[in-house]
């Protein structure tokens, strides 16, 4: 090459070969068409899909977040309701318990009163029965006393008095509680 230095001095690198202009432009245009048809749409599709996926992901996340928020609010409301309900039930139970205790106390009181009354009535009845039976016996005793007195010698007034005293003593021992 360097031997052809004479030719080189005639060469002007600014003057192109027309064939090279045409070839360069043609090859470039063919490449442009190929890339435009087969390469660019693929890249653009990937970009578009990625954008869509990211946007879709964001909106899905937003929906989920909103759902979760709503659910949380609902649960908190339910929890509040439940607390309220529990407090109400507790209050009611306390009231009911107090009422039951009062009722029971009243009942017990009434029962006690009833038992005491019953006891008193029974005692009264027994006393009445005793008095009645005593009354009935008093006659018999009086008769028997009279018989005895009549049967005894009446010469001794002192003795008579003793008999009566003894009788009365017996009587007192036999029929106590007479007020």
């Amino acid at each position: 090459m360097r031997e052809s230095i004479q030719a080189a001095e005639e060469l002007n690198p600014l003057i192109p070969h027309v064939s090279e202009i045409i070839l360069g432009a043609a090859v470039f245009l063919v490449l442009l068409l190929a890339i435009r048809k087969f390469v660019v749409p693929n890249f653009e599709r990937a970009f578009a899909e990625r954008t869509k996926a990211i946007e879709g992901g964001i909106s899905a996340a937003e929906t989920k977040q909103a759902e979760a928020d709503a659910r949380l609010a609902e649960l908190e409301k339910q929890l509040g309701d439940a607390r309220h309900e529990a407090a109400r039930i507790r209050e009611e139970a306390r009231e009911q318990g107090a009422r039951i205790i009062a009722e029971m106390r009243e009942q017990a009181q009434a029962e006690a009163t009833r038992i005491v009354d019953h006891g008193k009535a029974q005692i009264e009845a027994e006393r009445q029965q005793a008095v009645t039976s005593l009354r009935a016996e008093v006659g018999t005793l009086a008769t028997s006393l009279a018989g005895r007195i009549v049967g005894e010698s009446l010469e001794d007034e002192a003795r008579q008095r003793r008999v009566v005293d003894r009788f009365l003593t017996d009587l007192e021992a036999g029929t106590p509680g007479r007020n």
Partner: protein, 268 residues
């Protein structure tokens, strides 16, 4: 010849040989491989095949959660799409220009990096024809878009008459605007890319061949130091080229986007 003699004079200790012949435009005039087919021709077709195969493999699955390959593709595609097209053209119109801008960026980038890939080691756009072709396409694109939007005369007015300028000063401004927006833009677009690639590759050849000459053909202790330095420079310039090659692809794409943006804009 003069330059060759000059180089030989700068290396006085050259013991033998015809002296050092510095690289020149002739080094870019590669002989045809077969028939009329040259290396850059093969490379430009190879670049298109490579770009399509790789980007297609990257985008084919288009999964929601990308794999490594798809992630890399989306990073590059998204960079051009969002970083250049959307930033400059605006969200309203940018999407229909994304295929063009993405292809342009990949095409220029791969062809530039061919200049550093071992065994290929030739930037396609150091042949000016390829740069002219791409610039012509960008020119057609932004003017076509402008005419499609504003009509032919409307577009001429849109391009040549800056907003808020009235009266006789237009006689001065309008031709200048026409010159700068319609005529100069494609030329600078092409020349910027071509000249960067050409000069970068020339520098690399110079340091590689110069180092080789000093070390192997004109060996002496001083020349050996110079040769090693030249090869160190070769390495440094290669790293610089790595950056320049990317920047040129980026700038070409960015400027095309700006021209399109100006053409579709409602007002200046």
């Amino acid at each position: 010849m003069i330059a060759g003699n000059l180089a030989a004079a700068l290396v006085p200790m050259a013991s033998s040989g015809g002296g050092f012949t510095p690289p020149g435009p002739a080094d870019f005039d590669l002989p045809p491989i077969v028939g009329g087919i040259t290396k850059p021709m093969v490379m430009i077709v190879l670049s298109a095949v490579l770009i399509f195969a790789v980007t297609y493999a990257m985008s084919r699955k288009a999964e929601l959660v990308p794999g490594r390959l798809q992630y890399a593709g989306e990073w590059a595609y998204g960079g051009v799409r969002n970083g250049i097209a959307r930033e400059i053209i605006g969200t309203e119109h940018y999407l229909r220009f994304v295929p063009y801008l993405f292809t342009l960026f990949a095409f220029v980038l791969v062809n530039n990096y061919f200049g550093l890939i071992p065994l290929i080691q030739f930037p396609t756009f150091s042949h000016s024809g390829y740069a002219y072709g791409l610039a012509a396409l960008s020119w057609l694109l932004y003017n076509g878009v402008g005419i499609g939007k504003h009509g032919f005369l409307g577009y001429l007015k849109h391009t040549c008459v800056p907003a808020g300028v009235h009266g006789p000063v237009l006689l001065l401004i309008a031709p200048l605007e026409f010159l700068s927006n319609i005529l100069v833009r494609p030329v600078t677009l092409a020349l910027r890319l071509f000249a960067n690639m050409f000069a970068g590759h020339l520098l690399l050849i110079l340091f590689a061949l110069g180092g080789e000459y000093l070390l192997l053909e004109a060996f002496s202790p001083i020349n050996a130091v110079g040769g090693v330095l030249a090869w160190v420079m070769f390495f440094g310039v290669s790293l610089l080229e790595l950056l320049v090659m990317f920047l040129q692809a980026y700038v070409f794409t960015l400027l095309t986007a700006m021209y399109v943006s100006g053409a579709v804009a409602d007002e200046h």
